[in-house]
Symmetry: C2
Subunit: 138 residues, 2 copies
Amino acid sequence: MKLGTKGRYAVMALVDLAYYGQGKPLALTEIAQRQSLPISYLEQLFLKLRQKGFVASTRGHLGGYTLAREAEAIRISEILEAIGEPIETTRCDKSSSTGCLGTNAKCLTHTLWAGLGAQMHQYLHGISLADVCERRVV
Amino acid sequence: MKLGTKGRYAVMALVDLAYYGQGKPLALTEIAQRQSLPISYLEQLFLKLRQKGFVASTRGHLGGYTLAREAEAIRISEILEAIGEPIETTRCDKSSSTGCLGTNAKCLTHTLWAGLGAQMHQYLHGISLADVCERRVV
DNA sequence: GAATTCCCGACTAAATTAGTCAAGTATGAA
DNA sequence: TTCATACTTGACTAATTTAGTCGGGAATTC
Ligand code: FES
Ligand code: FES
């Protein structure tokens, strides 16, 4: 049960962007250096973040990224979702109605894990980028 | 952010043991079949569970495992810990006082992830094996 | 002594992660 | 124009982790 670098880096970078980029575009190299993250890896992540509408890009000299939405309106849970690091606590495919294995009944532990997932999602949904920037996290 | 099979299988098996094994030893083959889990994998897990004092074993014919502690007194969080699937949300080594990278200050996202970890631990600590068996989970 | 069951360590195939690399496109400044 | 900067994109890969398997052994009961 561990958090990977994808999600971690994405949030770190977006926090940095919200924190230091006051309106004007911030280059990825700058973010990468400040947070000491591999830049070519970040490029990958920001590609997805742009496609999903979290950031906007300006190319060329003095270009960079800006937040496409208000920092108050971006939930941490959304970032993880967008980047491809979803919360997967249950094993059963929630689309099909079949449980863990073969049987169409849910296994004994299903509600346990589902509850855990809900708990995590609720926590991460309740915190915005702005909250992290301004250290409003308990 | 996904739950692996180690933790999942361990909890499934222990729930099965608490549910079907009324006092008397339950063979691993029986548990494995009922939950359709790979038996040789389960053996590995139960080795650790015994060493950590969650179950007791009886060898030979009609042998098997029994719970070594009351089902009410076994928290899900303990199982995951024992089996080697801990909750790792932060990246910094909590023993050393150094943060994510080099600097001894905590990174901006540290409290966010620490909070998530605390949330998860709290949830899993608040639920016992007995709770799962008797479906007292929201 | 034969069947059953736990005990234990070593090993491995497959999947995932955590990136790198190379080539291209757009923009602004000198 | 030309150059430097910076985003864009897909392909590729090394390392790690996961999810097991396998083989042999030891204890216990019938
Ligand atoms: S986790 Fe959903 S049925 Fe087992
Ligand atoms: S996660 Fe602890 S300092 Fe970054």
